[in-house]
């Protein structure tokens, strides 16, 4: 059959007419295994010869291989387009608790804890001190207020006491003076006679001092 094909190749136009004749008479076509081998590039002599003779198989192989080529091209185009629109994640994906394996993580955790505790204590102290200050300030204010409130009363009382004492003293002096005057007006036989008793003089002197 190969020899026949070579003769056909060398005979020009007569070659085509013979192919048509062979195609019309061809009852057996390529099996699936032969077809697969043909697509894989393995082309035994018998398959080549059959393709020369059978237009149906030749056309079918061309159609299938062309479709596969189109599929490869189109799918690559699709994949390139899809890959271009897909975000690239270059970061290494790690398990959720992988950070526990790093000593730096523990150091950082300890520092963070110490910092948090320090801040908490400072805030607590800052939060407590103003209360104490407020209490002491309130107490001082209350004391001042009380002192301020009491002071006029004390002063008033003191003034009243002083006034009372002075009044009492003045009243006593007045009463003594009146008593002296009354006594001085009383004529005694001695006075009448130019004889003054000591008590009378004392009373008179006292009345004079009071009036002065």
């Amino acid at each position: 059959m190969e020899a026949g094909n070579k003769r056909e190749d060398s005979n020009g136009e007569r070659n085509d007419s013979r192919r048509e004749r062979h195609d019309n008479n061809c009852e057996l076509h390529l099996t699936d295994e032969q077809f697969t081998n043909l697509l894989l590039g393995a082309e035994p002599a018998g398959v080549q010869a059959h393709l020369m003779e059978c237009a149906a198989c030749r056309e079918e192989s061309e159609r299938v291989s062309g479709a596969i080529g189109d599929f490869a091209e189109q799918s690559l185009l699709w994949a390139e387009r899809r890959a271009a629109t897909q975000p690239v994640r270059l970061a290494e994906r790690q398990p959720a608790l992988a950070w526990l394996l790093h000593p730096q993580a523990w150091v950082a955790g300890a520092l963070a804890t110490a910092l948090a505790v320090g801040i908490g204590m400072t805030m607590h102290r800052d939060h407590t001190q103003p209360e104490q200050q407020a209490v002491s300030t309130a107490q001082a204010d209350a004391a001042k207020t009380q002192a301020a409130a009491v002071q006029p009363v004390v002063a008033k009382v003191q003034a009243e006491v002083k006034t009372g004492r002075a009044t009492l003293k003045a009243d006593n002096a007045l009463l003594s003076a009146i008593d002296g005057e009354l006594r001085a007006d009383e004529s005694t036989p001695a006075s009448l006679y130019g004889l003054e008793s000591t008590s009378y003089r004392t009373g008179t002197k006292t009345a004079k001092r009071t009036s002065n």
């Binding site: 479709a67 596969i68 599929f71 189109q74 899809r82 890959a83």
Partner: protein, 193 residues
């Protein structure tokens, strides 16, 4: 003076180049993200899963770059990681639940907004898209292994030996999956079989 090239030196230089490629996750992302996304999306038929798996795959490859021995290409190694990640995700109950609720496969109709290149007319591009959609439809009826191997071989153009390395399957198993996948595509696109 004539320089003599030592094959060992070439291998060493290539190994260093690969290692430097793995050391730069941005370069790794630029070079392989789209291919991996296509591979996982069409293997699983789940767009959300594909994006998650590709992201995890690149990160896992970057973190485990010391374990790469250079016995295969970087893409084969990445496809192997991606395949394992897909299996891991699909084992979870959460995935199985959401798979029943919602499944969003790759949709080539998203490309309708792409302007036609100067090499082909709009009509040609529309025809090409329709043919590609036919292949997509054929793949939807296949198992995940069949789809993965089909995509690796005919889309990523990996050798059968590389597919064996990436999937951990025997050569005969790979060929069987590939044969079934081609049969389905031939039935859908070729109109015979």
């Amino acid at each position: 003076m004539q320089l003599a090239l030592n094959p060992g030196m070439i291998g060493c230089a290539m190994g260093e180049a690969i290692q430097s490629e793995l050391d730069d996750i941005e370069a790794l992302d630029r070079a392989y993200r789209a291919r991996l996304l296509r591979f996982v999306a069409y293997s699983t038929g789940d767009m959300d899963l594909a994006e998650t798996v590709v992201q995890d795959c690149l990160l896992k490859a970057f973190n485990g770059r010391e374990t790469f021995r250079g016995e295969c290409s970087v893409y084969t190694w990445l496809a192997h990681i991606a395949g394992n990640l897909v299996r891991d995700h699909q084992r979870t109950r959460k995935f199985q639940f959401w798979r029943k609720v919602q499944k969003t496969g790759p949709d080539l109709s998203e490309l309708t907004g792409v302007l036609p290149s100067g090499e082909s007319s709009p009509e040609t591009q529309i025809l090409a898209r329709e043919r590609a959609q036919q292949v997509t439809g054929a793949l939807e009826g296949l198992s995940q292994n069949q789809r993965s191997i089909f995509v690796m071989r005919f889309v990523d153009e990996m050798e059968l030996q590389e597919i064996c390395q990436a999937t951990g399957m025997q050569m005969s198993t790979v060929k069987t999956h590939l044969h079934r996948a081609v049969k389905a595509v031939r039935l859908k696109v070729g109109g015979s079989a």
